[in-house]
Symmetry: C4
Subunit: 239 residues, 4 copies
């Protein structure tokens, strides 16, 4: 069942260490088959280099395990909340990548300061508000009753609604005191966007150290770079 998607999700998970986005098992990628209503996601706490397609966890959109002997990632409910809110998503990645997480810990978004970010993100990558105690729940909650992971997804969706930002224009977010989530039309593009976010966080950190009051880049340049890659008249690559 879902053999192709399990292969893709497994391979996308294995790219996380290749691109330097993870330490130990701290990152997970998922993919969705919208027709069948099933999500494939990394199993919890399994090493990337021992991971095989048949280890991937398959769950339905309520989070029930459908196949596989492994428990899904503890972040499963966050992935599900995003897929449910945003039908355009085909893949999601969560990591604790070093530079993006440094911004998340500071409670700051990653501003659009240059064309590296503009090529993939049509503006600032926002940071959510802190989560409320009720959303975090009790440390004694068992997995099944914990509101935390689902509410992490909800606070991401709320952030985009509040800012009027579209998830297909800004395919990533920082969760306050936590770290980045990125997404795309499939698991591979989600990983791609996570790499770009990390690169942009690196550059923005240093630009802001040089010029603490640096304003966002000019609107015309932001639009030009995003749309020459993603607009109706895109002309980048071999398309």
């Amino acid at each position: 069942m879902l053999e192709k998607l399990k292969e893709i999700v497994c391979e996308a998970n294995r790219q996380l260490p290749k691109y330097g986005l993870v330490t130990f098992t701290w990152g997970n990628v998922s993919g969705i088959d919208r027709e069948k209503g099933l999500m494939v996601i990394k199993p919890s706490g399994v090493e990337y280099d021992e991971m095989k397609p048949e280890n991937m966890a398959v769950v339905d959109l309520l989070g029930n395990r459908v196949e596989g002997i492994y428990k899904p990632s503890s972040d499963m409910a966050t992935h599900l909340a995003l897929y449910q809110a945003w039908p355009e998503l085909g893949g999601i990645v969560h990591t604790h990548s070093r530079w993006a997480t440094s911004f998340a810990q500071a409670g700051r978004g990653i501003p659009a300061l240059g064309t590296t970010q503009a090529d993939y993100f049509h503006g600032e990558i926002p940071c959510t508000r802190p989560m409320r105690p009720k959303e975090i729940g009790s440390p004694d909650d068992a997995a099944a009753e914990s509101p935390y992971e689902r509410e992490t997804g909800n606070v991401i969706v709320e952030t985009f609604r509040r800012l009027g930002t579209l998830p297909e224009e800004v395919p990533g977010v920082l969760v306050y005191s936590h770290g980045p989530f990125a997404w795309g039309t499939d698991p591979w593009s989600a990983v791609h966007n996570a790499v770009v976010m990390e690169e942009a966080a690196f550059m923005d950190f240093h630009s802001l150290m040089l010029e603490p009051q640096l304003p966002p880049m000019q609107r015309e340049l932001l639009d030009k770079h995003f749309l020459r890659k993603h607009g109706a008249h895109a002309y980048y690559g071999q398309k």
Copy 2:
């Protein structure tokens, strides 16, 4: 004697360069067999890639060499002081890893600013006070009469007592002007915690540069992350 523990300690030492925690021979891991009252530790000044289980030094809890032709790490007495004060420890690691040592040199602990740290450390990783001249001793002290290494362990224990911090909740510390120690229930978990500490130090440095007045993360989030991995109701991994 202790063949299994020597293998584990040797392998744990060899992971230090793999995780980028050491330059040259600047780091050492030990493990303890509490029933036999013996500690196995890296030999002093030996290269990691030439190290074999039979090179490990075995000492009793007074630091007497019991087996092996190699002298134990010059930090032996610090390890022994920690094992004696804290019966829950099964492995200890000391390094001069770059990011954690940068905080130690600044005399500052590594504050809990995000979930990366909260997953393994239930609060700030503290920094000890400076050592007193009497504790450091004379530069002419021979190894056997030097109080310095044992007092380094004592000042760590004093720090945790003063703060009311439990070593199983915060499995690591910074020694002022020196560098990090980390521990765990076995040598491997000690190395694991040392890697997390280095990662947290990296992130905290950059978050603090972005927001110098950044307060610690919210208590509820700290508890949630630590306890979903380490509490009675833990649900992370394949347990």
Copy 3:
């Protein structure tokens, strides 16, 4: 046609990941055959490790594709503008290398602070002014009608004219909110200068954090280092 130049340009492109200057496909190198009036350049969006000499795009100096099934890099027109303005150029490289781009995003040049830069750049590596909306054009422009890429070249040339800087003395520039371009007498020397620029940006960032008011290095030392490598009496290397 141009078999030798295609090999050189292909090999120079493949050096970009080797020197850590690129992520994904974010960098391109070109070379020119001035006698034939043809430029060879990386194809758009192709991976470095799949790249072969026969994939290189060959265009005339108006940007018309002369050979090859691949579309040239979307930055083609910037390369052409520089070759046309500066007859001494034989190779050009553009990347989003991390440290140089951090300066470009901050809108600051890379000042001459030490002999590392002085060995290859006879002074500050300047940053252009922001581009004007008219120069950027509309996000709906198709590739053929977009003024943006050519104007990027023009603003570079304008910067050097305004400052009275010679491109053979300062073989590189930062484009505001964008990233670095470097050049040389051939594609290899262009890559070499791009590596030096990245190294100098790293060092300058940290020197400026230590001493924010740091003035440029003394003129005599700048001249000595640049000219002992590049002057009439050069004596560096095995020449």
Copy 4:
């Protein structure tokens, strides 16, 4: 002639890229045979991975080429000036390593802030004064008549005399606006000290960003760490 020393110097040069101290050919190691009055040094501008013992340049103490078809490093006269002033030196290394050079560009020494530095350097690694125009000479000087390289050595010696620092206690220096030199009793210990200096510069940079007014470490701890490795009663390693 000097076959053994040429092997050692070649191997020590090849360790520079292994330890991340050099880009391209920007670093050189030398060794001296004091009985024969000859110095062996890296040839100018030759790649490390193509370097063989027979390529090493052999010069007498006046800098005359005695053997070998390759020109010696352009920094030859600096090495000679140090060997002549300080009879305890057996090996010297010069690089543009990134972190140490960042301090040199800022005109600041690397203060003794922790035990990592104290294990090898008995105090601050000083930075020289700027060189005078007369010491730099004219950019038109040919190699043979250039005072610059020898005066670089002289300003290093002057710095240590002025501060009352002994070269065997602080085996390294920063040259203002330029970069680090390190030395030891042989080429290998010189490289070792260069690696430690780079590590200490990394840590000090970050400690100083966290605490800009950080004072030097306490004297007792500095003495203890330096002397337990290098004093009459040293007890580190397997000696």
